[in-house]
């Protein structure tokens, strides 16, 4: 399983716009490269990312092979209530990897 790094502030004021950074370790194989005997290397990328804040999808991204290896994303969200932020990356085979972070909103 690949490793995910996420950066979410632990505390925030209600209504504050917070920045979230995520990085997933993944080769993002484009499908356009060949191995050392000339066979094409099959495509294997993360094609979807979802951020779920207490059950509500707040941000999604669709990735194509032009996204660099170890896909990095930085985006914002409004700190509405205390709870958990769940992150889900889905690859070409339909396998999902998740990570989560909790946030305290005052």
């Amino acid at each position: 399983m690949a490793r995910a790094l996420i950066n979410v502030p632990r505390k925030a004021r209600r209504g504050e716009i917070i920045e979230i950074k995520t990085l997933l370790s993944h080769p993002m194989e484009t499908g356009y490269r060949r191995d050392n005997v000339g066979n094409p290397i099959p495509r294997d990328i993360i094609n979807r990312f979802v951020c779920i804040y207490n059950g509500t999808e707040v941000f999604q991204a669709d990735f194509f092979p032009a996204v660099a290896a170890n896909p990095f994303l930085s985006f914002c969200t409004v700190a509405t209530e205390s709870g958990t932020l769940e992150f889900r990356w889905t690859d070409d085979h339909g396998n999902a990897q998740t990570a989560s972070a909790s946030i305290e909103v005052e």
């Binding site: 716009i17 484009t30 356009y32 490269r33 060949r34 191995d35 050392n36 005997v37 000339g38 290397i41 804040y53 509500t56 999808e57 707040v58 941000f59 999604q60 991204a61 669709d62 990735f63 194509f64 092979p65 032009a66 996204v67 660099a68 290896a69 170890n70 896909p71 990095f72 994303l73 930085s74 985006f75 914002c76 969200t77 409004v78 509405t80």
Partner: protein, 158 residues
């Protein structure tokens, strides 16, 4: 799309003038190539027949990158991000990679601020275009030219 083409035409005029004075004719020729059709088709698929206006979107990407395997890209849209007026999605396109699509960000009013950063691959020196779809159905764009010294995608493992 018309707007994009018109813009590149004025750019061409400018570059021909600049090129003749400083003598960088190869650069002029490269910039004068029309927007490749695959990118135009991919954009058409998203916007349909709607006019795409320049403005409100700001695409931040280094003008000169050494390694096309990781190019940082930052896109922001001037929008209040309220229920009534927000950015629905931001689409990133490129001209010369094997595929015209790079990424699509789907935003909701809950993000608060329409600003996203990521890292992308570029196979050649080319134009990158960001198109934002707003909740009122309008489309806005910004584009940037990037010079790439070491291209992505082309290297083999052998």
């Amino acid at each position: 799309m018309e707007i994009i083409q018109r813009k590149s035409a004025t750019r061409r005029v400018f570059l021909i003038g600049a090129g003749s004075s400083i003598g960088c004719s190869t650069f002029v020729m490269r910039s004068a190539s029309a927007t490749p059709s695959s990118m135009a088709a991919a954009i058409r698929e998203v916007v349909g027949e709607t006019a795409v206006r320049q403005g409100r979107v700001k695409l931040d990407i280094p003008p000169l990158v050494e390694n096309g395997n990781t190019v940082s890209l930052n896109v922001s849209v001037d929008s209040p991000m309220t229920e009534l007026d927000h950015v629905k999605s931001i689409h990133i396109f490129n001209e010369k990679n094997p595929q015209p699509n790079v990424t699509i960000f789907h935003l909701t009013p809950r993000v608060g601020r329409a600003r996203v950063s990521t890292r992308i691959r570029l196979a050649d020196s080319q134009k990158v275009v960001a198109i934002a779809r707003l909740s009122d159905g309008s489309f806005w764009y910004d584009s940037a030219d990037v010079m790439v010294t070491l291209a992505a995608c082309l290297e083999d493992l052998r």
